[in-house]
């Protein structure tokens, strides 16, 4: 398509000051697609291993409890809670609420605080076996 080069393009990523709302937006996409690939495959692997018998399950446990396995599970759990929090934020925004500049910034930051807290609480509960 021919474009008149003398006319400016609308301002894009490079020109805006980076803010929490932009961070939470792109992280929603990053976490969602991370969960959709690594998370879903891990879940199906776990179920398939359990359905295939003790040996396949032992292989899964060996991989999952390796240092890399724990790193992936910790990352995915944070991804899940972050996607959950920013998803709930989307429900509020869908209703037309929460667009005031201060509120919007506050809840953008809070999604990160909440998701990190929930991740720590989840692993604390797993490690102590209680909630």
């Amino acid at each position: 398509m021919a474009r008149t080069t003398s006319r400016p393009l609308s301002p894009h990523l490079t020109i805006w000051k980076w803010g929490p709302a932009m961070a939470v937006s792109i992280m929603h996409r990053v976490t969602g697609n991370g969960l959709a690939t690594a998370g879903a495959l891990g879940l199906v692997w776990w179920l398939m291993a359990a359905a295939s018998g003790p040996e396949a399950y032992a292989t899964f446990v060996t991989c999952a409890t390796s240092p890399i396995g724990y790193l992936v599970m910790a990352g995915l759990s944070w991804f899940f809670f972050q996607h959950l929090c920013s998803g709930l934020r989307h429900f509020v925004l869908d209703m037309g609420a929460g667009y005031e500049l201060k509120n919007n910034k506050l809840w953008s930051v809070l999604t990160f605080v909440l998701s990190t807290s929930l991740t720590i609480a989840f692993w604390a509960a797993i490690c102590t076996g209680k909630f």
């Binding site: 969602g32 697609n33 879903a40 199906v44 398939m48 446990v61 429900f91 909630f131």
Partner: protein, 129 residues
């Protein structure tokens, strides 16, 4: 019905009433995921152990197997819709876009079938603990 411009081809046909379907399904499945995955996480914490016997004995329970299957459907439905939006944004070539949608559908349906089958096998052959 004209066959010239885009507007000419659709004028007078009225709304197809399909515009909001993807958007709504994304949200319905989001609520499904919210409830079911949180239930899974709480259940994993509450299980006495995550060893083979504990997990298989737990999944064999019908009141576990059914929500677990629903969770798999909700997750793979939701991820199919979400990844579609991502691919539509980043894959501009028409051929590659078609191929990516094909692979995404294979992945979503294949993954969901594998998950549901695994749960069904445990539920039909396992012993409830």
């Amino acid at each position: 019905m004209g066959n010239g411009t885009g507007i000419g081809r659709v004028r007078g046909l009225g709304s197809a009433r399909h515009g909001a379907h993807h958007w709504l399904a994304q949200r319905y499945t989001a609520i499904g995921n919210l409830l079911l995955v949180l239930w899974l996480l709480f259940s994993l914490i509450a299980l006495p152990g995550l060893d083979y016997q504990s997990v298989v004995g737990w999944i064999a329970n019908p009141l576990v197997a059914v929500p677990l299957m629903l969770m798999i459907v909700s997750i793979f439905w939701h991820l199919r819709l979400g990844m579609q939006v991502m691919l539509e944004d980043y894959v501009h070539d028409k051929g590659l876009a078609f191929l990516s949608m094909l692979l995404l559908n294979f992945y979503a349906f294949g993954g969901a079938a594998a998950g549901v089958f695994a749960i069904a096998k445990i539920a039909f052959t396992g012993i409830v603990k």
